[in-house]
Symmetry: C2
Subunit: 358 residues, 2 copies
């Protein structure tokens, strides 16, 4: 495949999906050639990757590429598609660490393998099998993401240019993930710490770095272009995570694919929670302490916490922060360094990243 850089987002999504499917089919064959006992691994990863997904990171990488690049070839599509496998690793391990039962409306990977254990009447402790499987499927997704990039058919120069950014992004992601689980162990909420987490575990990793990866693939060298992409990507990345925080508390399960108030049950110390804490009365704080992070938090408890968040004005405040950040991003996108192929897509993606309902 090779076409002019004027594709729609949906065309890119389709192209990414085709390359992912081809890669996963090859890898699945390899696994099953080792042992047929690996068929459930291949099946679960393929279904995780192909059944759904917004493909945000490949799309942002695509925008980074067409900021200056012109001809979009199959190796480029494969390289940007590899980001979906990295994201699969992050989600599989995230769900395991958070003890989340659902992902995209289906059982999370550890729950899926736990169910297989029960269904096939295997020996041992089903949850332990589920957890171990999730550790390994996440690892495999991480390895495959790298393999898909390495074997995309890029030139040596492209690989050389993209690798340092790709490596730094992955370290940032894992650092952000650690800070996230660490934050849940702290006695008090802190707005600055929560902002750092949002930036590393999600903002940079979802938007800024994919843009940079795309730009690097196009052969772009100018620090000004990378800075222009950051000026768009960093605020939008923050806004993206804040929208995610709101959905984790107020999202409709039928749309998010996760139970209502999941973040509240898991005790996620997001920016939304830090804002709430700051404006809470002592009575509100006492009530929060009782419900927030309680593994058995029910609908009633979720409702109480939601009410506190709304009544402190934290929800409204975060909504206006999202608007402001999105506005900043849109202004930054209006930069002559960012080519005319990328510009309309960046505007469209900004909407998807911040207004999305799932």
């Amino acid at each position: 495949m090779s076409y002019q850089a004027k594709a729609t987002l949906q065309e890119i999504r389709d192209a990414v999906e085709i390359e992912l499917a081809a890669f996963l089919s090859e890898q699945s064959k390899f696994l099953v050639s080792i042992s047929s006992d690996l068929a459930p691994v291949a099946g679960a990863l393929s279904s995780f990757l192909l059944d759904s997904g917004k493909r945000l990171r490949p799309l942002f990488a695509y925008c980074g590429y067409v900021s200056t690049g012109t001809e979009v070839t199959t190796p480029i599509i494969r390289a940007i598609a590899s980001l979906e496998l990295l994201q699969a690793c992050a989600l599989i391990h995230d769900d395991l660490m958070d003890g989340s039962d659902m992902r995209r409306g289906k059982p999370s990977i550890h729950r899926h393998f736990e169910s297989l254990h029960v269904q096939d009447e295997l020996e041992g402790f089903a949850p332990a099998y589920g957890s171990a499987a999730a550790v390994l499927l996440g690892d495999l997704a991480l390895v495959w993401s790298n393999q898909m990039l390495n074997s995309a058919g890029l030139t040596s120069t492209q690989l050389h240019d993209v690798m340092p950014i790709h490596d730094e992004m992955r370290t940032e992601l894992m650092a952000g993930q650690f800070l996230d689980i660490h934050e849940q162990t702290q006695k008090t909420a802190d707005l600055n710490r929560s902002k750092t987490i949002a930036r590393y575990k999600s903002g940079k990793y979802t938007i800024e770095r994919p843009l940079h990866i795309g730009a690097a693939l196009s052969g772009a060298q100018s620090p000004e272009l990378f800075a222009a992409l950051s000026a768009y990507g960093l605020p939008l990345g923050e806004a993206f995570q804040y929208r995610d925080d709101l959905l984790g508390v107020f999202g409709d399960p039928s749309v998010t694919g996760k139970p209502a108030g999941d973040d509240l049950r898991e005790g996620k110390r997001t920016v939304l929670i830090a804002l709430t804490d700051k404006e809470s009365t002592e009575v509100m704080r006492e009530t929060s302490r009782k419900y927030f992070g309680a593994p058995d938090l029910d609908e009633h408890g979720v409702k109480i916490l939601q009410e506190i968040i709304v009544s402190t004005g934290a929800k409204e405040k975060l909504e206006s922060m999202i608007d402001e950040l999105a506005e900043q991003a849109l202004t930054a996108a209006d930069n002559e360094l960012i080519g005319e192929n990328a510009h309309p897509l960046l505007l469209e993606l900004a909407k998807i990243a911040t207004k999305r309902s799932a």
Copy 2:
């Protein structure tokens, strides 16, 4: 650094350690620049990597390199040292999945972070924090292993030659690990299945693939050399895993750094166990079912299982299989394609890999 390819194993170990220390120091600085809360992550990974380790995989990769290569440069040392970070990922995740408390005489990573949680009186459930930290530190080690290889300073040709082998090795490793945890859920032992696991999770990954990686780094292209290295590496890799199986059951804790009979407590279906099962009487099988895989297995239970393993002749049988495989490897090492720099090291390493007490 650059010297003729006549170093001793200890000199290579030292060189590997220097490069690992330098890389970890850089990465630690990067982590702490994101947040001081990441200092325990940097500290734990550095200590895990630098306090001990036999450096087997870098040493085999070195042998692969000097099979034909001559000048050993810093980029080569960095590239082979990166395998230690991959191994760190495997061990950290392995200990988490197996619920092992100890590694190399110290608390395993999940236990270490669990202790930090208790010691610092953090909020939440300490074991969950320990597990999540182990997931992420393993992920980070995997990412860093790749980053250390990517940034080693290899030529484009070297990177291009080594990547497909490196990627395939990592998939094989994760596949072997999955088969290992899956085997523990089976109702019966099976010698062939256990052999496949030994080959993938350990044999190929510890010996054959590192040899191939080294050879690829030296620019070797001849399929005959790769086959010669496999003829040495595959049987030795199997023997290595069988020695590990014996140590997991009969090893002295003061030497292995793990509690006595750890594999029995975890219900590891190794080749040793498959051999035992094959020659067990019905009474022995019944006794085994009672003790094998019991999380609270005590010294008494370990002794009973050890006695069964010895009395079926499985221990002796596995010892003679190790001898035979080691003999095969030594014969294969005697190949004119394998240069004179590699040959004596391969003999020395064969001894270390199969006679080791830890």
